[in-house]
């Protein structure tokens, strides 16, 4: 639905008034369109002194993508992005120089600019100073992201030890965060666990030749996922309950896919998905578990039916489908599972014990499912949407809806396509090294950070 407030503070007289009153002024976000430049201006690559080699490698890659790469800021530059390379830092002292240099550029960022950190995951095996430095990036990035304005976002790529900045998923994640595909992803650190994955031949059609199933595809986020996967080159089987068949057929016809009216809680749902995909398209490579329901009630008033329905659709069905795919021996062509979690599953939400349990369950499920797929070049990950403008959130009472919209760094709700872009990235060949992770698409919502 339309965000009237966002339109008011960005046009005409009301824009001026909002400025004078110091009201929050969310910026219209730039979304991905084919043919648009990857970044809206020159890219400044900054690095800690120790991380110069990685910074050089990153700079070379960015040049390869046709970007205008700078290593130093000069007066009058308006940067489209700042990439901060901190991969080799061993002590928090090393942060000062590159971080303050980044700070000096913040006044001259283009609208919709990107700040992306590249760092390493802190583990218990690290020396304490190394771990402190590495984990310090976490708080640095999240705080920095909250200071950005004008639709700019800040996100980080965290590499596991042994994964270089040139690993497919390191580059894939960096490119995703730089691009307009990540418009509503803000304040997030995505971990790259392994060197698995491959770079696509065509960055605009990374899913070419892949066969995908999207559940709950008739409306809202599911329909956007189906359309986005198709845009990226995938052949899509759009699945929803039989009662949603009319809208489902429209989605399938729009993206030249196939509509399958199927309740995901059917005992043989996984086998039926697989059978259709194999017979019609010869393969099944991507499964997006998007189908989900809400049956909100305070726990004190919760009925067995409301509890059971949410668990059955939101998590039990996913587990059963995944198991059927895994034992079939047919889900082995660099398979991808992308499952929809929720910020309610991370932070909890009053009245959503059932929903929260199911969505948190999804996070646990992908963590344990991904390692079962890595032998085939596969992985499983989750996307956790925050406040997204859908039919579902349009039903939230006005005041609560306005609060939910503004309670994020981007001061607005996301669009279904924002979630779809994150799903498409995790379904792509370049995301093979992201193993069992959760990517939030929430505009850096204040809830559950």
């Amino acid at each position: 639905m339309t965000d009237t407030y966002l339109n008011l503070v960005n046009s005409g007289f009301t824009k001026k008034m909002a400025k004078q009153l110091g009201l929050p002024r969310p910026a219209p976000l730039v979304r991905f369109q084919a043919g648009q430049p990857l970044v809206r201006g020159p890219v400044l690559v900054l690095a800690a002194a120790s991380s110069g080699t990685d910074a050089d490698a990153v700079g070379k890659q960015l040049l390869g993508w046709g970007l205008d790469v700078r290593r130093h800021a000069s007066a009058g530059d308006t940067f489209g992005a700042v990439v901060l390379v901190l991969t080799a830092i061993a002590h928090p002292d090393e942060l000062a120089e590159p971080v303050l240099a980044t700070g000096a550029t913040l006044r001259s960022l283009a609208r919709g600019a990107r700040v992306v950190t590249l760092s390493r995951v802190a583990t218990a095996d690290d020396a304490p100073a190394v771990a402190a430095a590495r984990h310090g990036v976490d708080g640095l990035l999240r705080s920095l992201a909250k200071e950005l304005r004008g639709g700019a976002t800040g996100n980080g790529v965290q590499l596991a030890d042994g994964v270089g900045v040139d690993a497919p998923s390191a580059l894939g994640a960096l490119r995703f965060f730089l691009s307009a595909r990540s418009a509503y992803v803000d304040g997030q650190l995505l971990t790259v666990d392994t060197t698995a994955g491959t770079l696509p031949e065509d960055w605009d059609r990374p899913l070419a030749g892949r066969v995908a199933v999207v559940t709950g595809a008739a409306r809202g986020i599911g329909a956007a996922i189906a359309e986005t996967l198709a845009r990226d080159g995938a052949t899509v089987i759009a699945v929803d309950v039989p009662a949603a068949g009319e809208a489902l057929a429209k989605v399938a016809n729009k993206i030249r896919g196939t509509a399958l009216q199927l309740d995901v809680t059917a005992p043989d749902a996984g086998d039926r998905l697989l059978e259709l995909a194999l017979r019609r398209y010869g393969s099944l490579d991507i499964v997006v578990h998007n189908a989900g329901i809400l049956r909100d009630k305070l726990l004190v008033n919760m009925t067995p039916e409301k509890w059971a329905a949410v668990i059955a659709v939101n998590i039990a069905a996913q587990l059963r489908i995944n198991e059927q795919l895994l034992v079939s021996g047919e889900f082995t062509r660099a398979p991808r599972i992308v499952s929809l979690a929720s910020t309610s599953g991370i932070a909890g939400n009053r009245g959503q014990t059932n929903y929260g349990a199911s969505k948190s369950g999804v996070i646990g499920m992908v963590r344990a499912t991904a390692p079962l797929l890595t032998a085939f070049g596969g992985t499983a990950n989750a996307v956790a949407p925050g406040f997204i403008e859908t039919d579902m959130t349009a039903k939230i009472p006005f005041a609560s809806r306005e609060i939910a919209r503004r309670a994020s760094s981007l001061q607005q709700g996301g669009q279904p396509v924002d979630v779809a872009e994150a799903v498409a990235f995790l379904a792509s060949p370049q995301a093979g090294g992201v193993v069992g992770r959760v990517l939030r698409v929430c505009g850096q919502n204040l809830v559950g950070a």
Binding site: P242, E246, A249, N253, R256, A259, Q261, D263, R279
Partner: protein, 454 residues
């Protein structure tokens, strides 16, 4: 899309022998049927036909595909819909290069369309086809009276003021009343229900037998929906997800309370009610037909083969046969031509125009005398036990949008035999699994067909 003309027989290959080439049913789609004036009241035939084609396209991923021919029809058709099927194709997700034509044979339109297209596929004239049907009794055409029409036409031809005044002066107030379509036989002036009431009385079909058949139709249709049988046969439309006429909680007691609607002036007890007669309905259906080669090339399933068909007509206006009894004559001829008996069918689908239509047919085939004298058989044709008759319900429960019923029957029948064949795999896999389909129609017509699991 291939550059070569769509569906032209391969010029490099040898001519296909009709005996070798099969016409198969790939699958079907229909809208949930609605009652007249119900949720589809504002939908035109073209709206519904386009929607049912789009649902079929989505189910089988046929967007932009050139289909050999789409044939469809409507019994109640506006004159502006002279090219209804082609217009619907143009509005659908199919390639605009898909040819189309309209067919009309009263309530047998849907089945006759399947038969005609299947024959073209068998002849090698088509590789793929969609047989469809649609009807709306909510958006029925309303005409002006003959007098008004003649006067208006005269007026349009008039040149002088005098001629114009003369034309207008010929119009009488009663001519201004609109003329809605009537569901009556033009030759007898009787409605179909009154005709059937005569036949019901002739064969002595009881109220209880009719209500029992109607109840079975409702309970079986409801059970089939609950089992997910229609998940790949039906696409919801305008908020309707199941057939509106379906009463899952119907009972003999409830059906027994309904007052008779037809045959109330006959000397025999009136037995036909709104509960054991089909309601006026809105809806559409479509069946995807193909050659084996086309289905294989598109990686699509094959449910059943269209084996053969037979049409009959009876002289209901002057003769002794009931208006809806033509299938009784068609079936024995169809069986004889294929060397089959009623026992050779796993399923029998008889369109339930009225419960008594089905029961009269069954009674006729069990009647030694009738079969000898009227059908020229040595004795009774045989009987059909109820556990293979209309096993997923039929028109009494689903409703009967005239031209859409044939497509509903064929898609349902094809899925039934395919499922039975799959169940037999491993035990009796070579046994042919057949279904007999029978549809009666206005004008004393009846179309029947045999499908066999592929």
């Amino acid at each position: 899309m291939a550059a070569s003309p769509p569906n032209s027989p391969d010029p490099s290959g040898s001519p296909t022998s009709p005996a070798q080439r099969r016409a198969v049913v790939v699958g079907g789609n229909r809208l949930p049927f609605a009652r007249a004036g119900g949720p589809y009241a504002a939908a035109s035939n073209q709206d519904m036909l386009t929607a049912v084609l789009d649902g079929l396209v989505a189910r089988f991923g046929l967007q932009g595909e050139v289909i050999g021919s789409v044939a469809a029809g409507a019994v109640l058709k506006h004159s502006q819909d002279f090219n209804l099927t082609r217009e619907s194709v143009l509005g659908s997700a199919l390639s605009p290069q898909t040819p189309a034509y309209d067919v009309q044979q009263a309530c047998a339109t849907g089945l006759e369309t399947v038969v005609g297209l299947a024959n073209k596929i068998r002849l090698g004239q088509l590789d793929s086809a969609i047989a469809a049907g649609v009807d709306t009794t909510s958006d029925a055409p309303i005409a002006v009276s003959d007098n008004l029409r003649h006067a208006l036409l005269k007026l349009s031809r008039a040149r002088s003021v005098g001629q114009k005044l003369k034309a207008v002066a010929a119009i009488r107030p009663k001519d201004l009343a609109p003329v809605p379509p009537r569901i009556v036989e033009p030759r007898t002036g009787l409605t179909m229900g009154e005709h059937q009431a005569l036949t019901t009385a002739q064969w002595g079909i009881t109220r209880e037998a009719q209500d029992t058949l109607a109840l079975a139709s409702h309970t079986r249709l409801a059970a089939a929906y609950d089992a997910g049988f229609f998940d790949d046969l039906v696409t919801p439309f305008r908020g309707q997800t199941r057939d509106q006429n379906l009463r899952a909680d119907s009972s003999l007691e409830k059906l027994g309370t309904l007052a008779p609607t037809f045959g109330v002036k006959l000397p025999t007890p009136a037995t036909m009610t709104a509960g054991n007669s089909t309601p006026l309905s809105d809806g559409a259906s479509a069946v995807l037909l193909a050659s084996d080669e086309w289905a294989a090339a598109h990686d699509l399933p094959v449910l059943a083969v269209v084996v053969d068909a037979e049409t009959a007509a009876v002289d209901f206006a002057h003769g002794q046969d009931g208006l809806l009894m033509a299938p009784v004559f068609a079936v024995p001829r169809l069986l004889a031509r294929n060397g089959l008996t009623l026992d050779d069918f796993d399923f029998v689908e008889i369109h339930e125009a009225f419960a008594s239509t089905v029961l009269c047919a069954l009674a006729a085939w069990e009647d030694d005398e009738f079969c000898k004298t009227r059908l020229g058989l040595p004795g009774a044709l045989g009987s059909i036990d109820r556990d293979r008759l209309n096993v997923t319900g039929s028109s009494l429960a689903a409703g009967h949008p005239f031209a859409a019923t044939g497509g509903r029957l064929v898609a349902t029948a094809a899925k039934l035999v395919a499922e039975r064949k799959a169940e037999l795999a491993g035990t009796d896999a070579d046994r042919p699994v057949r279904v007999l389909i029978s549809v009666c129609a206005a004008g004393g017509l009846g179309v029947t067909a045999i499908l066999e699991a592929a």
